[in-house]
């Protein structure tokens, strides 16, 4: 089963953003989809562009780098270093938006919790300040490309159908 629009975003403190979402799959697979480059490539850009680079060195101290070419031609790049990895359970990583490389990076903690074959993912972003946190929240607007969404949603649905 797939669901849509069920991710929730809350702001537990002035410097945090918490994203929560349930998936109808065991956490082993959710963790795999979160950490295998060829799988990340297929979902991380959402409907807002295409991934051009997905590099993942999945070990503590290892680096990841995602580059997306957004619809409209501009590049959006992020990278970070893994601080903590508990396979299938927990990822702690820094996150740097390369357009704003100065300043303290965000620290993301992703936890995967399984119950009855379903997995809850919680992504907690710890930002250095309220200003940066607010900027991250506002960034959703810059890349909003509403007119693309219907078309791309159909493609996503077609991916979900058994071949």
């Amino acid at each position: 089963m797939t669901s849509s629009g069920t991710a929730t975003v809350t702001t537990p403190t002035d410097e945090q953003i918490l994203i929560t979402r349930d998936f109808d799959a065991p956490r082993r697979l959710v963790y795999m989809a979160w950490t295998a480059p060829e799988l990340v490539r297929r979902w991380w850009s959402g409907h807002r562009g295409a991934m051009t680079i997905v590099e993942i060195d999945l070990r503590v101290g290892g680096m990841w780098r995602y580059v997306m070419e957004a619809t409209g031609g501009f590049e959006v790049a992020f990278h970070g270093h893994y601080r903590e990895l508990v396979p299938n359970e927990r990822i702690v990583t820094t996150e740097v938006y390369e357009a704003m490389p100065d300043g303290e990076p965000a620290l993301d903690t992703v936890t995967f919790t399984e119950a009855d074959g379903r997995t809850t993912v919680e992504l907690l972003m710890q930002l250095p300040s309220k200003e940066v946190r607010d900027m991250v929240l506002a960034s959703g607007m810059e890349v909003g490309m509403q007119e693309q969404m219907d078309l791309l949603e159909q493609i996503a649905i077609s991916l979900q159908e058994p071949s």
């Binding site: 797939t2 669901s3 849509s4 629009g5 069920t6 991710a7 929730t8 975003v9 702001t11 002035d14 953003i17 994203i19 979402r21 998936f23 109808d24 799959a25 065991p26 697979l29 959710v30 795999m32 989809a33 799988l39 297929r42 979902w43 991380w44 850009s45 959402g46 409907h47 807002r48 309220k130 607010d134 991250v136 929240l137 506002a138 960034s139 959703g140 607007m141 890349v143 909003g144 969404m149 791309l152 949603e153 996503a156 649905i157 991916l159 979900q160 058994p162």
Partner: protein
């Protein structure tokens, strides 16, 4: 005078109005229903002048409305004024929802592939 103008400029939007923890607390209390100032003073544990100051900021952006009831002043929440904040967070939420819808598709395929392996068919 200049200071007054500057202060108004920085406080007169919903985002600044809710940036202050005490003002968020006042909004949370008012979300439960209309309240006289005295109740608010008691519930947030600040002196009346400070509560009044925060309420003034909230009134400036329309986040609360006030009416006279005899000698009491009753405050209530006006959620509509906070909609810009809701919309703003919603857009970020939409970005992640898009990603997760695609991730659903990836997971669906992984699940099917595993089941296929186990069943030895498909």
């Amino acid at each position: 005078m200049m200071a007054g103008i500057a202060r108004t400029a920085t406080t007169a939007d919903a985002f600044n109005a809710v940036a202050e923890p005490r003002r968020r607390q006042l909004l949370e209390v008012l979300a439960g229903g209309e309240r006289p100032v005295n109740d608010l003073v008691e519930m947030v544990g600040l002196a009346q002048p400070q509560v009044s100051k925060h309420l003034r900021v909230l009134r400036e952006v329309g986040a609360v409305d006030v009416r006279e009831d005899g000698r009491r002043r009753l405050y209530r929440l006006n959620g509509h004024a906070l909609k810009p904040i809701h919309d703003w967070v919603k857009d970020f939420e939409r970005t992640w929802s898009e990603r997760f819808e695609l991730l659903d598709g990836v997971l669906d395929e992984l699940t099917k592939a595993e089941q296929g392996d186990e069943d030895g068919d498909e």
